[in-house]
Symmetry: none
DNA sequence: GATGAATGAGCCTTCATTCAT
DNA sequence: TATGAATGAAGGCTCATTCAT
């Protein structure tokens, strides 16, 4: 339920941990990032002090700088850590699929939603959106590493669906917004404004309702009055 | 030497309430807000200094405090100023409508999109989203004054559409996300990450494509394979 | 005995100064520099904090930054303020003189020595020497603005003396070291190591003794056993 | 993997006092000092970190503290190491000489200059001058161990030369400045400001030119117009 | 002896806010 | 009203020094 550390943190220190003052070796950077993620998410980047991060990770302020050269590097590290699994997961589902895109889209959405149970999965994207203005390099990194992989893949998925006649003639690029947008808004409303549907933030229901409409709307023969 | 406000500030205050030559009268606060909006949007709240706002509005730093008691009050003022027209516009379209909700939804979306040509319409909501964490009172205000008016209204619109048999049996609350989400994502991608479809940020195309799918998906008889 | 401010500080505020809280207008930067000079001289640049400078100038720490953008800018300002009078004074004595250089050298040395009564005249050059390593831009500035004016001028003075047969055939460039070096060493020993001749730091005696030897050594007919 | 010291560290400790294979034995402190000298000279004391010194000496940061109790102790050690040979060399030349001081002065200057080919000889004095303010104890040490031996010795040398009628009636204490000052200035200009005569930093030429003038100026019969 | 992770004090710099004029 | 000099609190970052291993 916690980080998927890029370092094999546990393997390094397999023996029973001694109480207070142990060199947690390579686990430390990840612990710092965990603390940073929690605080950045809760209070925003600007309002979080390095000292808070350090304290929350059980270190002194100076120690943070042993692992990250600057406060901004924490943000960058956070994004970098989240990037690989995210993008890979997404792409592994979509990769080179041919046929009706709807089952794949459902799988994709379900995966995203189930991952979203823990707070950490959407935390980074949200952080990136919020801080993009103040840290354009990081926004750029996220764009290059995540968005420009996931969006084109989805676009291609839809495009081939159109070409294969599995779904209606739609603009694939724009349709990607129709696929993801509702989920994003749902999460945003909930986490930014604490606005939830009456019976809670049930991602499953949201996805069911959303895909019900979306998939019907993509039916080839569907024709509508305006 | 004074900056000409980009908003027709005079129009806001059309009544002849200035004695003889009061300098742009009560337009001043509005000019300050204009400056603040531009800077907050561009650089974020935290990275914008009061002095920058003052300079950009053609005032001295101290003068800003004649109109606004604190920096945060600028944000609040910005939101407050944007709230009334936004909510009213939205509600005036939706208010107590009975029948197929789709034409109304189209009108609503078109209105939003056409207003969005200028940067200032989505600027405030985006600002609020970004700064909600740091200024919960303001998020709360926005929620109370805008979201909790617009969302329930849309929900009701959809609900009565379902009840009247004009659209399929969907969850109205969740369907609101399906209506608005794609537009929001479209704008966010464009403005935060500079990701646009190949032929530019055409809101019209987006809305056409989006509503094409959405409305088809809402057709009462539409039934889909999964 | 104090600063030769480049700003007409007194002229700005001619009326009788009111007690505590007066805007000292353009005098402030100079006051800050005075404080900085004293502290940098006494404790070195690195060991002096901006807060000390501020306190010594009767300001808050933040106020220093109203006048100087950084701590290093204080050093730069110090040097810049000292540069113009120094170089000009020196050059005005030497400028385009023709004939026996010795009287001019005496005048030059006397001027330097008499100026050296106050602490501030040699303070800046000493500061520059000490901090040259840490602030190469400043060393460069001093070099360009002072040294590369004064040294070539003295070199030319000596060169024409040699050509005119007023002094012996010496290497003018190297002879400049023979002219200035003893004075510099004298001051350095006194101020860095508190080493003074038995009867105090009498610059006059030093110059008399030094020029006595130097001028004799420059006599055209002088010929020596080794 | 260990750095080869640029100084013949072994030569310092020629006696066979190492058991079998003690790693470079007591050379370690010397290597640390070598590294410190290089870095202090290049970047100044304050801007050099202990870690840099350690790295440059091929040790860990902690190991430096096995040999020197503090950073300042490095400076002290540097000075202490340089003191004995310097002072002794100087004094051995001058000690109790009777007669015309000029040949001795030439020998003294030549020795200093030839030693100055390597950077290390003047490095310590220059370091001391620069850091004297921040480390008064060290300045005091240098003064007591070097300056107060060398200067009085030179003074005595000149004094007996005057008494013996070998040179003109000059103030011996002040004349010491005339002897050493030019060399010091020459080196300072070159190393602090990179100002050299047209044909390079030829100490030989400088000394020839300088002593030519000086010795002529000290001639007993020399009498000059002012 | 040797390592290097960790500490903690300290300094430069920024900026919202105040207030004498 | 309006100014802008001045304040003071706070935060990012560095680095000499310590200490468990």
């Amino acid at each position: 339920m916690r980080k998927e550390s890029s370092q094999p943190a546990e393997a390094v220190n397999p023996a029973g941990d001694s109480p207070k003052f142990r060199r947690r070796a390579d686990a430390r950077p990840d612990e710092v990032l965990d603390a940073a993620l929690a605080l950045f998410t809760q209070n925003g980047f600007a309002k979080t002090t390095v000292e808070q991060v350090a304290a929350s990770a059980g270190l002194s302020k100076g120690a943070v700088y042993l692992y990250f050269p600057s406060k901004k590097a924490l943000l960058e590290g956070l994004v970098r850590r989240a990037i690989v699994p995210t993008a890979d997961q997404a792409l592994s589902v979509i990769a080179g699929y041919r046929g009706d895109p709807r089952p794949v889209i459902r799988k994709f959405m379900t995966k995203a939603a189930s991952a979203a149970t823990g707070p950490s999965v959407f935390a980074v994207p949200k952080l990136v959106m919020r801080e993009a203005v103040n840290a354009p390099e990081i926004a750029q990194m996220y764009r290059a590493q995540v968005l420009e992989k996931v969006i084109p893949a989805l676009t291609a998925l839809i495009a081939q669906g159109v070409e294969g006649g599995h779904i209606r003639q739609v603009n694939p690029e724009l349709t990607v917004r129709s696929v993801i947008g509702p989920l994003m808004l749902h999460v945003m409303l909930a986490e930014v404004f604490a606005i939830q549907p009456d019976n809670g933030l049930e991602l499953e229901s949201l996805i069911d309702n959303h895909l019900g409409i979306l998939f019907a709307g993509l039916e080839p023969e569907a024709e509508v009055k305006k």
